[in-house]
Symmetry: C2
Subunit: 335 residues, 2 copies
Amino acid sequence: MDHKRATLKDIASELNLSPSTVSKALRDHPSIGVITKERVKKLAEQLNFVPNQTAIRFKQQKSYTLGILIPSMLDHFYSVAVEGFEKFAYGEGYNVLIGQSHEKLQREKELLLIMQSNRIDGLVIAISRETMDTSHIDAFVKSGIPIVYFMRKPINEEFHCVCSDVYTGAIEAIAYFVSRGHQRIAFINASSYWTTSRDRFLGYRDGLIQHHIPFDKTLVQESDFTQESNFQATRQLMQLDSPPTAILAFKDQVMLDTLSCLRREFASKVDSVELIGYGVMPVIQYLERPPLASLKEQPYNIGQKAGSLLLDLINHPQAPYEPQLVKLPCKLQVF
Amino acid sequence: MDHKRATLKDIASELNLSPSTVSKALRDHPSIGVITKERVKKLAEQLNFVPNQTAIRFKQQKSYTLGILIPSMLDHFYSVAVEGFEKFAYGEGYNVLIGQSHEKLQREKELLLIMQSNRIDGLVIAISRETMDTSHIDAFVKSGIPIVYFMRKPINEEFHCVCSDVYTGAIEAIAYFVSRGHQRIAFINASSYWTTSRDRFLGYRDGLIQHHIPFDKTLVQESDFTQESNFQATRQLMQLDSPPTAILAFKDQVMLDTLSCLRREFASKVDSVELIGYGVMPVIQYLERPPLASLKEQPYNIGQKAGSLLLDLINHPQAPYEPQLVKLPCKLQVF
DNA sequence: TTGTAAGCGTTATCAC
DNA sequence: GTGATAACGCTTACAA
């Protein structure tokens, strides 16, 4: 092992040059002679010189690191979103720090501090389920780090956000249900604190209205995504005097649990209830009797888009502030 | 926005102290008076002071960052392993840089360079499918960064490694198959360049031997994990004159594709072939007719263990080198 | 075309 | 108990 890593100074003294010359040579600065560049690069290669990013970051007062804070990487949607985000970030010369809140406000706060202390240049965040109060995020923003929400944005915050066009998706889902003869259409939603829940709900409601189906609030349940909660929501619906024949779920994970619940507890009705979720989880292809459909979102593109929006903010900190709201379309995929 | 972030110097000049005093005060250095500490901490709080890690890292010549390089976070096993690793790392005050090779050697090389240039303090790695030559890893090791393999270790490298005890798992699987009357037991393996493939194979072979079943090499196929490859392996097996009645798969993803292939192309036989995989993918609970069983591994613990082994290496760089091989048990879970 | 010197924020060492 | 100083590796005016 070369016990000491080569530095610019090492190269410089070896070649009787100054560190600044070496620095410029390695970065192809025009003011350095071709021959010098050659010599420098050759030796750098030999010494296995790798520039010390920690020093560069420190010097430049820029971490070249972007943060992304998500509920969990075990959620297929978010792991794909992270892929898109990373791809973009790496392409722009940035590293990525990933944080998982696991739906805990406390963890979210800790991660925000870690990221702040790492002087990340910007953050993309989908808030946790417990995040009803955003004072920790406000403090973060106040420290001067640009931020872009994605998917889950607090309903009362005016901020940049990249998400799926779940409203139109819900409209489409309802239309498809109706075209198949359904009139009793239920909806299992999530935290009313997120814009994405409100938008789904509005799409559901407006979809019903478009088809002259009266809105019935007993057909709307809320889940916290645990299996127990998904089951409970399903039970509530199926035990109604007039149970639904179609259910729109906040996301496929909810829909799958709904399916399980129907199979286990309402076996006689499982074939008479059709389901649509959001996300098109890859699992579904392995089901012998898949649900009706799912709204295909674009997590990869959403991650990328959030990254590029964030970079805009980083590169134009003085630009007039006007919250961008980017919605990427969902597409109904029938199984 | 406070446009400039507070530094030690800011606090110092405000209180007419020196930066070094402030530094010590904030870290509760015994040589600083209680009253001074009070004043310093109070002002730090007020100014919303967050220590600049980039400066600390630079100063300490230590990045407090661990790297983990995996094939893909979309693979359930690895995303859980990353969770375990992260949990451990954060607990020890380290950040985590995650890299995904997506099974590409080229990407793996790039990521190694990025990590090196970030001066990570250590790396945990599962090599890509394309990694047959390890010169890039050797170079990395030579640069002085400790490394621990997990799951996928090159077969000809003597290094620390944390993985599942897949050998014993295979033995168990075969025993279970035999107990159910199977004699024609096939095996779909992966890259012969990994120890984990060799170990599975040895378990498969020894398992057969234990039950006096002759080894038949036509019953062993290799897959590269693409759906096409999984299907192809399944076809090869099922088209034999005497096709298997039981198949052990390298991992559940392979098993699921095998199941799909049987359903689509060998529908008449799908009920007469029993399957066992590795991993216990959560998907499986949603299948109406699940496969026979799966070997439950411990990705979370493996990630944690790899992290703690890595930290040992980091903290005791002078310790005599003796490759550690840690194997965590698999457990057969019947569905 | 090359060199000099200052400085980024923090901590360790040593002096007071 | 507190302060001055140097150092980490690199970049960037500016000087030569």
